[in-house]
């Protein structure tokens, strides 16, 4: 089928199936799935600037619904989210401008492709090590609970971040943090926004680990607050990319129909698996995204 906005020929059934898989990932792993959806769209022949913008728009809708549910459950730290919005928008705008700059030089596919490969590979390695470490500690009988368990594998990162004492400081009651420098929160939000604007998606794959491991936010609050930030970063990024002609709304709408039923399926699947096993199962997926991008670049797709 011809999609006139991006000028590409795509099979709508494959798009719905891709949306379904991404939806399952969202419901099961709590991530947007852009590390897989983006490379898959690129491999199907969609130019990378359209991949980034379209994926962002597709994620906005999904995250809005999920963020609303987390808000009702009290899983969003509104004070933390408010501080993060500034950095998220600044980072997202920087990412959007970087794409526009690369479009002028006609290197957008190559540069974004290489950055994607590096980032997705690192995320896969990180998730694998973290999941494996936690599973090994559980098997050895270590008894930790709550926040300690969340920070188990990479706790030294959080302790290093807590060492940043630049004023002003803020108290996050809902996250159980007595005092934290606003600058460390802004730094994390800029990183998330930058990845979102440059690589597409909500960048939950980078923001979520940063919230848990760098800022020491409890996992359930980190998931809710991350979703709120995804709505902001992906929403802002999607509108800006649409204004710059990087969004094919028809592709996004088709994918979303699969994602809606996939999200429900993924959420139901979580009852059959434990947390560390879910994180360990997540590890190969970003690697798969990296392989798809590498395969397309090597075959002359750029």
């Amino acid at each position: 089928m011809y999609f006139p906005i991006s000028g590409t020929h795509l099979d709508p059934i494959v798009l719905v199936l891709l949306g379904f898989v991404v939806g399952v990932l969202g419901g099961f792993f709590g991530v947007g799935g852009s590390f897989l959806a983006g490379p898959a769209l690129f491999a199907m022949g969609v130019p990378f600037n359209f991949v980034v913008g379209t994926d962002l728009l597709h994620i906005v809708g999904k995250s809005l619904v999920a963020a609303r549910e987390h808000h009702l459950l009290g899983h969003i730290d509104l004070k933390l989210a408010a501080v993060m919005v500034i950095g998220t928008i600044a980072g997202s705008e920087t990412g959007v401008q970087a794409i526009e700059y690369l479009k002028q030089g006609a290197h957008v596919n190559l540069v974004v492709g290489i950055v994607s490969i590096v980032v997705f590979t690192l995320i896969g390695i990180f998730a694998g090590i973290e999941g494996w470490t936690v599973l090994r500690l559980h098997r050895s009988g270590a008894q930790e609970s709550g926040r300690e368990k969340d920070r188990l594998a990479f706790g030294f990162f959080a302790r290093a971040m807590e060492g940043i004492q630049l004023p002003p400081h803020v108290r996050l009651e809902q996250s159980g943090i007595e005092s934290i420098s606003i600058w460390s929160i802004v730094l994390v939000s800029i990183i998330g926004g930058l990845f979102s604007g440059f690589l597409g998606g909500g960048a939950g794959y980078i923001r979520m680990p940063c919230l848990v491991y760098l800022l020491g936010i409890p996992t359930h609050v980190a998931v809710g607050t991350d979703l709120f930030e995804i709505v902001i970063s992906a929403g802002y990024g999607a509108v800006r990319h649409a204004m710059n002609g990087n969004v094919d709304i028809l592709i996004a709408l088709v994918m979303q129909t699969g994602a809606a039923i996939g999200a429900q399926t993924g959420a139901n699947l979580t009852q059959y698996f434990s947390g560390p096993r879910i994180r360990l199962a997540f590890a190969p997926l970003p690697m798969l995204g990296a392989i798809l991008v590498a395969q397309k670049l090597l075959s002359g797709g750029h």
Binding site: I5, G61, V247, T265
Partner: protein, 80 residues
């Protein structure tokens, strides 16, 4: 426990079939009526296009979420 899992899997399959029919009709409607309108807006007024794209995605997401939840509820109630 096994029966309950089998039941929820059957519910899911029934939901998937009904949802699939609905989605095919819906996408036909979108492509038949909105495709040209969206394409011309994309070419002529990008700000308007950005706003319409955002609103369309929001409405579809909320609508489909309500439909999937409602379908599952109706299927389970019908079985009881």
């Amino acid at each position: 426990m096994k029966n309950s899992r089998e039941r929820s899997f059957t519910d899911f399959l029934v939901e998937l079939v009904i949802y699939g029919v609905f989605v095919v009709l819906y996408l036909y409607f979108v492509f038949y009526f909105l495709s040209d309108w969206l394409k011309s807006m994309f070419s002529e007024n990008r700000i308007e296009y950005a706003v319409v794209a955002f609103v369309l995605m929001f409405v579809q997401s909320v609508g489909l979420e309500r439909i999937t939840t409602g379908l599952l509820f109706l299927i389970r109630r019908h079985k009881r």
